[in-house]
């Protein structure tokens, strides 16, 4: 049988999350699951489909291009996936908000119990997934005929986005289900890298005291080419928008360097970043739990430390 990956894209290009999901598909393929196909479903999404065709290890790209698919509405896309699923043994999507919204709808229509947010593949039907905010790892076996899966990106290093030359084939679906419509999006605009694919992340917590103070973090982030993140406390307090949130129910990240500033380290936050390669904690409370997992801890006033750090980074970059 064959593995289908649902691409995350913006109609023009393929998002990095797709490459991580394709990596999980490649592991399944190695375990005997057969070829890998990618589905690009959207509106005027030919460019994204062409980009998907270049991903390493992909045998075929399916493209479903329809006005009804333009905003990723699960009500419209799920029936298309239900039809396609008959030809596949596994259907995978990245565990992004898009994948989390769509895939359970598909699973229920197929009468399948989804395997959410997998972090490991044992065999074609057995997977590892974090539960309890990553404080336990469950190994689960699916008894369903088709496996519907979302993939934790940080657990699967991305496949190459270039080098492949898959054929692109158009597929069609029923279009709009007439249940829901897109009204508007207010997307954060940033020149900085995306949180989930950044090499370095600088995150702020309640200790930042206000949204205005985040410019101190941003200065450091820009020296490092880093993304800016936040704890739930900082988002709830309105310092920064929701899409900055790192944690159990926010974004899961694993950069090479994670700098936590004014973050105490609640388990729900640690769940989102503890797989980072190197963790730095800057906090005035030396008892803060974040220090128990940090590789390098610096106790002190962040309002003094951040400008110093900015200056020190400027020095070494000269």
């Amino acid at each position: 049988m064959t593995v289908l990956v649902v691409a995350e894209h913006d109609n023009r290009s393929v998002k990095p999350a797709t490459l991580h999901a394709a990596a999980a598909a490649a592991e399944l393929s190695k375990a005997g699951a057969g070829d890998i196909h990618i589905l690009v479903v959207g509106q005027d999404c030919r460019a994204a489909a062409d980009a998907a065709a270049k991903i390493a290890g992909i045998a075929k790209v399916l493209v479903a291009d329809d006005a009804a698919y333009g905003h990723g509405l699960a009500e419209n896309i799920a029936p298309l996936l239900v039809d396609l699923a008959a030809s596949y043994s596994h259907v995978l999507a990245p565990a992004t908000t898009q994948g989390k919204n769509l895939m359970p709808r598909v699973a229920a229509l197929l009468d399948v119990m989804q395997v959410s947010d997998i972090s490991g593949i044992v065999s074609q039907d057995t997977f590892v997934r974090p539960i309890y905010a990553g404080n336990a790892l469950a190994t689960v076996q699916s008894k369903d005929k088709v496996k519907i899966i979302t993939v934790r990106g940080t657990a699967f290093p991305p496949v190459a986005g270039e080098g492949g030359s898959a054929a692109v084939e158009a597929v069609g679906g029923a279009g709009s289900a007439g249940l829901s419509e897109f009204v508007r999006a207010e997307l954060s605009k940033s020149e900085r890298p995306e949180l989930t694919s950044a090499r370095v992340i600088v995150s702020g917590g309640r200790g930042m005291q206000s949204g205005d103070n985040f410019h101190l973090l941003e200065a450091v982030a820009d020296k490092l080419g880093a993304a800016v993140g936040a704890s739930r406390a900082a988002v709830d307090a309105g310092f920064v928008p929701n899409d900055y949130q790192v944690g159990q129910t926010g974004k899961i990240v694993a950069p090479e360097l994670y700098i936590a500033v004014g973050i105490s380290g609640a388990i729900q936050h640690l769940a989102g970043m503890k797989d980072s390669k190197v963790i730095v904690a800057i906090n005035k409370d030396e008892e803060a739990p974040i220090f128990q997992i940090a590789d390098y801890g610096l106790v002190g006033d962040l309002f003094k430390i951040l400008p110093e750090l900015d200056a020190e980074l400027a020095k070494i970059q000269k």
């Binding site: 908000t97 989390k100 336990a136 007439g178 249940l179 207010e186 129910t249 190197v278």
Partner: protein, 249 residues
Amino acid sequence: MKALVAVKRVIDYNVKVRVKADRTGVETANVKMSMNPFDEIAVEEALRLREAGTVEEVIAFSAGIQQCQETIRTALAMGADRGVLVQTDVELQPLAVAKLLRAVIEKEGPEIVIIGKQAIDDDCNQTGQMLAALLGWPQATFASKLTISGGSAEVTREVDGGLETVKLKMPAVVTTDLRLNEPRYASLPNIMKAKKKPIDVFTPDDLGVDVTPRLVTLKVEEPSKRQGGVKVGSVEELVAKLKTEARVI
């Protein structure tokens, strides 16, 4: 119209969970249990809809062992009008819960169903979407704002890139994110009043639902522990270590 909220009994979010020595699950004996925090937000939102006159009655649903009654009582103490418990000792997975919910919804006829986006125990993030699929209803997951008027619901959703607003034809399923509201605490008089509110109890068989688990948990393990590192004395030392020791900048 009626609103239905689903509430799950989970290990309290402040408890540090421990994996059982026999690797079959996590320790739940003598552990504090609470309502899933996202479900508290769901209850609060339904109560606000009732207080605004949009909804006449709020029904709190739970499924699982007999002690799930306590979770329903918590919702009743917050202000929900009555409860429905589907009682079973079988381990319930999201697909089974969605099927039980569908059966109860077909009896009760709510026009809006509000559920937490995710339970903090299994972290599945599935039940609301599955329920919407089974009912053929639209869904708005990860809601941070909900407005109902003229037979439709406008919902702002927290998505990876920021916020997105969708309009759903009612009836609809909404799953809650953290910023939707701040749930109220139950007052003592309301806790007393809640004891008298009715809870209907069914079994999965009464509802004709097969709840046999589809995923078999083979083992549950503790993740490898991250070792704490060193404290550095200055910014200069930190940058030097990141550059020459960790080699990440």
